[in-house]
Amino acid sequence: MTLPPTIRVQREDFDLQAEVDRLSKNNPGVGAIVTFSGLCRDDGGTLAALELEHYPGMAEAAMTRIGELAIERFGLLGLTAIHRYGKIAVGENIVLVVAVAPHRQAAFDGANFVMDFLKTAAPFWKKEHSRDGAEGDWVAAKDADDAARDKWK
C-alpha cells in the first residue's frame, strides 16, 4: 500500500521511532526502512546553535513535491520528511527523512534523493550562532550540494 508523503514543518522536535512505526506498522509490503536524521553540529567547537528560517507555505509545498517525486521515481511505499525551524542548539535534530520500500536500494535512494533536493530546493536558511554569543553569518550555499542534486538528473 503506497501512502502519500507526510510532510511537516515544525518548531518542536520529532520522535524518530514514532515516525518509523507510522510508515511500517500495518504496511506488510514494507521490507526496508531507511531513516536520515540531520543534527546541529558544533563545527569544531565554535558553534552553539543554528537559527532556521523558512518560507511558510512554500516550504511545505516544495517538500511535498520532492516527496511525491521520490515515491514515484523509486517506488516507495511511504515517505516522511520533517524539517524544524527556529533556534536549534548543538546536538538537537534539524531534519528527519524516513523512506520505506519493499527492498533496500529503493529506500536508500529515496531518502538520499529527498535530502539532496531538500538542501537545494526547499526554502530554508541557516544562520550561525557562535559559542562566544555572537550572532554569526548566514550559511552559504555549497556547490557540492548542487552537484549532489544534479546527479539525479
Binding site: E53, Y55, M58, V95, A121, F124, W125, A141, D145
Partner: protein, 84 residues
C-alpha cells in the same frame, strides 16, 4: 498592489520581512523587478547587488529571472537555500 516577502540576509539588508508595493508597468520580468527594487534605496541596492545569486518565487513557485511576473500576487525574494 503586489506583496513582496523577503527572507534571510535579503530580509535583513532590506530591513523588513514584507511589504506591498505598486509596480510600474515597465516591470515585466523578474530581472526588471530586481532592477526596479534597486532604485528604491541603499538598503535594496545592498540586498540585491549580486542579482545572479538571488532566488525568486512567484506565488511560492521558484522561477528563473527571465520569467514574466504578470499576475503574481506574492513574490518571494531570497538567497540560495541552505536547509536540510
Amino acid at each position: 498592489m503586489t506583496r513582496l516577502v523577503y527572507f534571510a540576509w535579503v530580509r535583513e539588508r532590506i530591513g523588513k520581512g514584507e511589504e506591498e508595493i505598486d509596480l510600474p508597468s515597465s516591470v515585466v520580468t523578474v530581472t526588471d523587478l530586481l532592477n526596479h527594487l534597486k532604485t528604491l534605496g541603499e538598503e535594496y541596492e545592498s540586498a540585491l547587488q549580486y542579482p545572479d545569486v538571488i532566488r525568486v518565487a512567484l506565488d511560492m513557485e521558484h522561477v528563473e529571472h527571465d520569467e514574466p511576473i504578470a499576475g503574481a500576487r506574492e513574490i518571494g525574494i531570497f538567497p540560495p537555500m541552505t536547509g536540510g
